[in-house]
């Protein structure tokens, strides 16, 4: 065996001795998995969906809705850039989305003009003619040309972002105060644009565009593919920024901004840059939104919308760009499905999701995926890998089937009464069992209260008829089967994941180690070496 040459330069030594050098590149299995998923997803959305649409499996309006969600996803990428990487929670991203949206809408409504209502007024948008404005206002005139509209759509949101960012961030405002200022900005803009005097359609917004854009199949597929291409381009832009040294400066700003001051950096320059890029991405999303939805109103830039957008990124996971896209699709699909099936309870579900995301699921699906990759790298048994993978697979299937309208009708109908009665009885039994747990508590009052409650639940679970029906009417059991299925899968997977992590901690403590990601990083090194 030839002697190894003693490494001479420091970099050779680094290569030779780095125990986590190979941790930089993912494990080959993980890499293959990622590659397969990327290829399948891109092929499905670029080729599969149009083919399914032409074949009649997926209806036109579903493709249109998918295009709308993808334009929101572009905005979500911007939010991930400014919040996930730079650590600035901006609550006014919907504003930049609407700047882009309104710009495109202005061009589309001018191009359409009075249309079928009053063809002689075909050079001004319909709402102006209804407001007795017979001459196109000066600030509308650039938007009669498509080229200028496109230029404005890319640059104006970015300029707005840079300007607002400059004034807000220059004084080293951070954290909660920054978020409050952005929220005030969103609110002010909403009030301003809602006024009729602004000649932007007032509270009704801008509408009455070229109808075939949301009706004719060629337009729908065309706009959908355009949005998809822009999403991929936006992703590549963000990927490039984040992988460069500037991306690392943004992460450093999130971690320890003070250290950067003393290293001679001016963090606010980088923050303004990230804010401007996020604004530009929002504007691009907005520009693609208007033609696909056919209307844009000040409601699209309300504070609730901005907060809603932040929930997408929180649930999908910050810090990895695809998390924002995934979260956006998930929450938007959930909203459209749940508002059609549950209507009023959607806000409760949204609030509960936001709270659960913060308390139980702070790393989002990105964290779950990272755990999956770690398990594959270490080579854990297939059962444990599946436990982590099941929520991801289930949620992805649900999102795809709902957005494309592929959910079988049997799953979309409500649960049969007998099943829901049985489930309710079972839930009451479980509640009774759970209430027996605090029986070990010291205080007598708590023991008495718990045992009384447990007995009540036990009795209720056996009593049929009016009482159960009354309880059932309290719980919204008109919920279709698909949601119960999802809830069941997620609860089971959640419990399994939880017990898994507890068992890990327990076993590790028994062996005398502290458990944490450090252990798996070290294991990665030893397994690969």
């Amino acid at each position: 065996m030839p002697d190894t040459v003693e490494p001479a330069t420091a970099s050779q030594k680094a290569f030779a001795s780095s125990k986590t050098f190979l941790a930089r590149a993912p494990d080959p299995n993980v890499f293959r998995l990622r590659a397969i998923i990327v290829i399948v997803v891109l092929a499905f959305f670029f080729i599969g969906v149009p083919i399914l649409n032409v074949a009649g499996v997926v209806q036109d309006y579903k493709v249109n809705i998918l295009g709308k969600y993808l334009s929101y996803a572009i905005l979500a990428l911007g939010i991930d850039l400014i919040w996930g990487y730079t650590g600035l929670l901006s609550l006014c991203q919907a504003l930049f989305f609407c700047i882009g949206g309104y710009i495109m809408a202005m061009h589309l409504s001018v191009a359409q003009g009075g249309g079928d209502v009053r063809p002689e007024y075909n050079y001004i948008p319909q709402f102006m003619f209804f407001n007795n404005v017979k001459v196109l206002p000066l600030f509308w005139t650039p938007f009669t040309s498509m080229t200028l509209t496109l230029i404005a759509g890319f640059t104006l949101p970015a300029l707005a972002g840079a300007t607002f960012g400059f004034f807000i961030l220059r004084s080293r405002v951070r954290g909660v105060y920054f978020s409050i200022v952005t929220q005030a900005l969103a609110w002010a803009a909403f009030l301003l644009i809602s006024r009729n005097e602004m000649l932007l359609g007032g509270t009704n917004g801008l509408t009455n565009f070229y109808k075939p854009m949301i009706q004719a199949r060629s337009w729908i597929i065309g706009l959908y593919l355009l949005t998809l291409v822009m999403l991929v381009l936006a992703y590549l832009l963000c990927f490039w920024i984040v992988r460069s040294r500037l991306g690392r400066v943004l992460v450093a700003i999130r971690d320890k901004e003070t250290r950067l001051y003393f290293a001679g950096y001016k963090p606010y320059v980088f923050k303004v840059f990230a804010f401007a890029v996020a604004a530009m991405l929002g504007g691009v999303g907005g520009m693609l939104y208007s033609p696909q939805v056919g209307i844009i109103t000040p409601q699209n830039m309300s504070v609730e919308e901005s907060i809603f957008m932040v929930v997408w990124v929180a649930l999908g996971g910050r810090g990895k760009l695809w998390g924002a896209v995934f979260g956006a699709m998930l929450v938007l699909v959930a909203r459209s499905s749940l508002t059609s099936d549950l209507s009023s309870a959607w806000m409760v579900v949204l609030g509960a999701t936001a709270i659960c995301a913060v308390l139980l699921f702070p790393e989002g699906f990105v964290g779950l995926w990272a755990k999956l990759e770690r398990q594959i790298t270490i080579g854990e048994p297939i059962g444990r890998i599946l436990t982590t993978a099941i929520p991801i697979i289930a949620v992805s299937t649900f999102v795809l089937s709902e957005v494309l309208g592929l959910t079988p009708q049997s799953l979309a109908s409500p649960l049969p009464t007998s099943v829901s009665m049985g489930a309710l009885r079972f839930a009451l039994l479980v509640a009774a069992a759970v209430l027996l747990y605090p029986m070990r508590h010291q205080r007598l009052k708590i023991r008495i209260a718990c045992s009384l409650a447990a007995i009540c639940f036990l009795i209720l679970s056996f009593v049929a008829g009016p009482v159960s029906r009354f309880l059932l009417s309290l719980v919204t059991v008109s919920l279709p089967i698909k949601y119960w299925l999802m809830i069941a899968v997620l609860v089971v997977a959640g419990v399994l994941n939880y017990t898994q992590s507890r068992t890990d901690k327990f076993a590790a403590k028994a062996r005398g180690f502290a458990v944490g990601p450090a252990e798996s990083a070290a294991e990665v090194g030893t397994v690969k070496a």
């Binding site: 680094a14 971690d255 320890k256 003393f262």
Partner: protein, 255 residues
């Protein structure tokens, strides 16, 4: 690692000169210095009991805190009213009491951010570090035994490793003045030895102000010592002289 000695300013100008500097927090005088001068390329150790104002003095020099009155000069430039970023760009590097590094970034990326130059948007988007810079980073990391943890995220490092990473970040930035706040805190004896070696190597080419509590470490540094107490300079001289000074013994070492 070749460090060229600074030759732009006159050799007589002291690197640091504090004159009548008063820093008060709500009436409590944290710092009240008549005169504190550190000549160029000297290693000065500042010791004193807790609460004596040592870190406040570093804060004032680096721009973290503004003095109520007096004059602070770094390399002849009046920095009393300057922002911390400007002072850092003048060539002042600082190591904090608790290791302040970027936890989400790897060791190599931490060092890369500390490299001098390239503080603008364009250069950070498009630039790459040069081969010499990469070699310099790896050479320093080799000395502090962090070379096998190049791609470990900094949050997984031990306390001693974090201290060394921060010191390495300071060294690679190549500042004219280094303010090192408790470099030996929480380190084992062997680690302390290596830290002293590192700082001694910088002696001839950079100016250093080291705050420390560990007397063995101070002895190893073998240089002039200033004692602070209650925000004022109590004594000045070699360690032996200072340890023999009656006022110092009463205030600090005797207890």
């Amino acid at each position: 690692m070749a460090i060229a000695p600074d030759s732009s300013a006159t050799d007589d100008t002291p690197m640091v000169a504090l004159t009548d500097v008063v820093v008060s927090f709500d009436g409590f005088k944290a710092l009240n210095i008549n005169s504190f001068v550190v000549p160029r390329n000297q290693l000065r150790v500042v010791i004193g009991p807790n609460g004596a104002g040592k870190t406040t003095m570093c804060d004032v020099i680096s721009g973290k805190t503004r003095s109520a009155s007096g004059k602070v000069e770094v390399n002849g430039v009046d920095v009393t009213r300057m922002a911390d970023v400007e002072i850092a760009r003048l060539g002042v590097g600082r190591k904090f009491q608790t290791p302040t590094i970027f936890d989400s970034l790897t060791v190599y990326e931490n060092m890369e951010l500390a490299l001098p130059g390239r503080r603008g948007i364009w250069k950070n988007l498009f630039g790459q570090e040069s081969a010499e810079q990469r070699e310099a980073i790896l050479a320093i990391l080799d000395r502090v035994h962090l070379i096998s943890d190049l791609y470990t995220p900094a949050k997984y490092l031990s306390h001693g490793q974090r201290q060394w990473l921060e010191i390495s970040m300071l060294i690679i930035a190549d500042p004219k003045l280094l303010l090192v706040d408790e470099p030996a805190a929480g380190l084992t004896d062997k680690e302390t030895e290596l830290t002293a070696e590192l700082l001694n190597e910088l002696k001839g080419h950079h100016t250093l102000i080291v705050i420390e509590h560990d007397m063995d470490f101070v002895r190893r540094l073998n240089t002039r010592v200033t004692v602070l107490d209650n925000g004022q300079v109590l004594a000045d001289g070699t360690l032996a002289e200072v340890q023999a000074n009656a006022a110092v013994i009463e205030a600090y070492l005797g207890r």
